[in-house]
Amino acid sequence: MLRFVVRRLLLLVPILVGVSILVFFWTRALPGGPAAALLGERATPEAVAAIEHQYGLDEPIYVQYGKYVKQLATLNFGNSTVSRQQVTTEFRQRFPATVELALAAGLFALVFGIPLGFLAAKHYQGPLDHASLVLSLVGISTPIFFLALILKYVFAVKLGWLPSVGRISVLIDVPHPTNFYVLDAILAGSWTAFVDVGKHLVLPAIALGSIPLAIIARITRASVLDVQNEDYVRTARAKGLAPRAVDFRHVLRNAMLPISTIVGLQVGLLLSGAVLTETVFAFPGIGSWLVDAIKARNYPVIQGGVLFVAIIVVFVNLVVDLSYGVLNPRIRLAR
């Protein structure tokens, strides 16, 4: 077990080297540069040269990369060219928002996706099954930004039930010791803040969770259909176990394994979807941070941000792999 974890962690090194090379050269292949983004039409050759010199962009690209790697080795991700703050400082401020949003979206997908898939399987080829298929297809094929705009238009602009931007109403003041606003609201003991933060999460979580929901529903359906014809399920039924107990203890539990793999893969999807969702909802997380950075050709932030995201995706998948052991003792024993 330990060896497995260590091996997977060591695998991080080539992945991160690969990602850092890709991102480093890709950002520099974008037209323009930080100087042009900062100066607009005032980007005289002298001013551009001065700024490029300041950021070392006038050196050969391999020298720049070497410097960057050397800097990374000391866990220094550099400073944002826009705010002049350290990339790590900005990441710490932004990351909790994305985690909160991804958790809310992931849980939304699970809570609605698993029952939807389960019901579809139980009513195989029935109207409920067909309805769930249509819903899933719509969920998968609707672009996030479009769904987000529609949700906002209906629930925020027209009905006025939910807010359309941000993480918390500007008129609510609670301290943010953790930057996880749900947690901050609880720590501050403010029910108003807690409700407000929850409301701000609803629409972005639905927009972001729609695709994972659809995928989870389809996988659950297929998996449940597989499992419910197994011998042990028939045995359980035959021995007179209550149908509900059969469903939960035998069918769903065994159908869970492929679902958990999918959930792990969804984390990458949630993080990439966060780029669009956060921008549309002005949600100050990693996604909107990266979009702003790309617009401003803010090289250190783009590089650092993408590296952080890569690390997270690798870690979450590791955790998912480890969780197989919990769900399926056979895998645990095999190792």
Binding site: A50, N76, L110, V157, F194, S288, V291
Partner: protein, 579 residues
């Protein structure tokens, strides 16, 4: 086994709780409501929430040049001289009046008395000189144009010259003296009249010397890349000026809150006719960053914000149709132009340049590509600026006249011209360069020309090529920094430039002399006349053809009053109220 199931079920329960919490409680909570009057405390002025496109970079005017920072700095700080709201006319600010020496080099500012900084310290001549000396003594990466851009525009260089910084060598600034607490004397190295208009810029805000030192505005570390990384908290937590609003808090990505300055000098002034008359009406002013255009509009529709800047032209009709909302026009302060290099034949011939001017369907371009936010430019500066002349030669689209002029010039039709446009760029004055170019090329081809299209990425290629004078005919433009004609026609034509071919061609020499004379003339009326004459000559000689000014739009809720859009975007929220 049951325990494990439970472990899995727990997060689900948590989410359900969250959703329940999110959906419930709707009765007693108004969704993101910011209706000012309901939330007011104290002075009864309420709260206004305004959305910008991004967070400010920092709240130290001397070190920023981005609009989002300057917008906030404008509320906390004040400058020696100010602009009459909605115009580019210079009026008293922290200085009640000023005199100029006969040689135009010594400027004596008579300061307002009884003004205090927000930290309770006195505003006086020493504080003024402290600030000017701070800026002049900037060294290292503070000399980089990304930090001290506006100092370099108005004053040029610094005390110590660093060739790597990109800053000019010579400085307009010489010294600042404080003979008594209410008199600040600024001495320049050469005469300048545009200097006064430059001083209205927020980067020349007077900050509390005590706060600058206490919160270490100039402290920081230079990292391995040579990038300066500030460690002080002046610009992020303790910006301290004399303005109508004071800093309260800032959570990046979320909100920046200012509150009314109860000790604002304007609020206690016993002379109501003075500029600005009173302090802020609002109790609280909140800025929040919303980068997505559609999100800003929707937030205004839901009432989560009370106003926003940078309204997309296509959203203007939607807002105008909504009786709860209003659109405010900001006067145009930019110009898009078709530039010529007048040293490349046949453009050295004035008749050919006139032919191009007649061959450009400027009205068509402005009507088609500016979404109703543009107007055809007649001069190289916006009409709101003094020195704009009403009687310059005009060139309405006339293909026949263009052909006739080309024949008079002795050329065989069609005349080949190399016409350049930039890619990968959209500027306020030129939202879609390619389509502008295509329309112009079509109208020129009907007017006896054969347009050879060329394009290059905006930077570094396009700007580099135009700066080096490699482009014969090209699209370009400019957004003004401050309300002085020298910032428009002076920037373009006061000195010979490769871009216009004026280094090799002497047709613009007369204009250069006029503009130099106008720059140093301290008599306002005479300056105006000089610039008007320069504009008439420019539009006769035609080193290029200005074609569009665009008017940015702001959107507010209908109950917001007192916001006066300024051509230079330096708008005060002190006069704003929510009703």
């Amino acid at each position: 086994m049951r325990g494990k199931l439970l472990r899995f079920a727990l997060p689900l329960v948590a989410l359900l709780a969250l959703i329940a919490a999110g959906c419930g409680g709707g009765d007693n909570e108004s969704v993101g409501g910011t209706a000012g009057s309901e939330t007011s405390e104290g002075g009864g002025g309420g709260t206004l929430v305004f959305a910008g496109a991004a967070d400010p970079v920092a709240l130290d005017g001397a070190l920023v040049s981005d609009g989002e920072s300057l917008r906030v700095i404008d509320q906390i700080f004040e400058t020696l001289v100010d602009l009459k709201p909605g115009t580019t006319d210079v009026v008293p600010g922290l200085a009640e009046s000023w005199d100029t020496s006969a040689d135009g080099k010594t400027w004596t500012f008579h300061l307002r008395q009884g003004v205090k900084f927000q930290d309770g310290t006195d505003f006086n001549a020493d504080a003024v000189c402290f600030n000017f000396d701070r800026w002049y003594n900037f060294s290292g990466s503070f000399q980089n144009p990304s930090a001290s851009y506006y100092w370099q525009v108005v004053f040029g260089g610094f005390k110590t010259y660093n060739p790597d910084s990109g800053a000019p060598k010579d400085s307009l600034y010489q010294s600042c003296d404080a003979p008594d607490p209410t008199t600040a004397v600024i001495t320049l190295t050469k005469p300048s009249a545009s200097f006064l208009a430059g001083l209205v810029l927020s980067p020349f805000s007077i900050a509390s010397p005590t706060a600058l030192q206490k919160y270490k505005a100039d402290d920081g570390a230079v990292d391995a890349d040579g990038v300066f990384h500030p460690t002080g908290t002046f610009a992020t937590e303790h910006p301290t000026g004399t303005g109508p609003f004071m800093f309260k808090s800032w959570t990046r990505g979320d909100k920046l809150e200012l509150v009314r300055n109860p000790n604002y000098w304007g609020a206690t002034s016993d002379n109501p006719s003075e500029y600005n008359g009173k302090g802020a009406t609002l109790d609280s002013l909140i800025f929040r960053p919303i980068s997505d255009n559609a999100a800003r509009l929707q937030a205004l529709q839901t009432g989560e914000i009370d106003g926003y800047d940078l309204v997309e032209p296509q959203d203007v009709p939607t807002i105008q149709q909504n009786s709860d909302l209003q659109i405010l026009d900001r006067p145009a302060f930019n110009v898009a132009y078709v530039g010529f290099n007048i040293s490349i034949p046949p453009l050295d011939n004035p008749k050919v340049r006139q032919a191009i001017a007649y061959g450009l369907d400027r009205q068509g371009v402005v009507d088609s590509f500016y979404a109703g936010r543009g107007e055809v430019a007649k001069e190289f500066m916006p009409p709101s600026l003094f020195g704009y002349a009403d009687d310059v030669p005009t060139y309405d689209y006339d293909p026949d006249k263009a052909k006739q002029l080309l024949q008079e010039a002795g050329l065989t039709l069609p005349v080949k011209i190399d016409f350049w446009y930039p890619t990968d760029v959209s500027r306020p004055y030129m939202p879609d360069p390619k389509r502008n170019f295509e329309a112009f090329a079509a109208s020129l081809n009907k007017s006896g020309f054969k347009v050879v299209p060329h394009s290059a990425p905006w930077t570094p290629d396009y700007l580099g090529k135009s700066d080096q004078g490699q482009l014969q005919v090209y699209l370009l433009g400019w957004t003004g920094d401050f309300g002085d004609p020298d910032n428009f026609v002076g920037t373009f034509f006061r000195s010979p430039q490769l871009q216009w071919g004026t280094t090799k061609n002497n047709q613009m020499d007369g204009v250069q002399k006029l503009l130099e004379q106008a720059r140093t003339e301290t008599d306002e009326a005479k300056r105006t006349e000089l610039y008007q004459e320069a504009n008439r000559q420019i539009m006769t000689i035609l080193p290029g053809v200005p074609y569009a000014h665009s008017k940015p739009a702001l959107a507010f809720k209908a109950n917001v009053t007192g916001y006066v859009p300024s051509p230079t975007t330096s708008e005060s929220f002190a006069t704003v109220s929510v009703g």
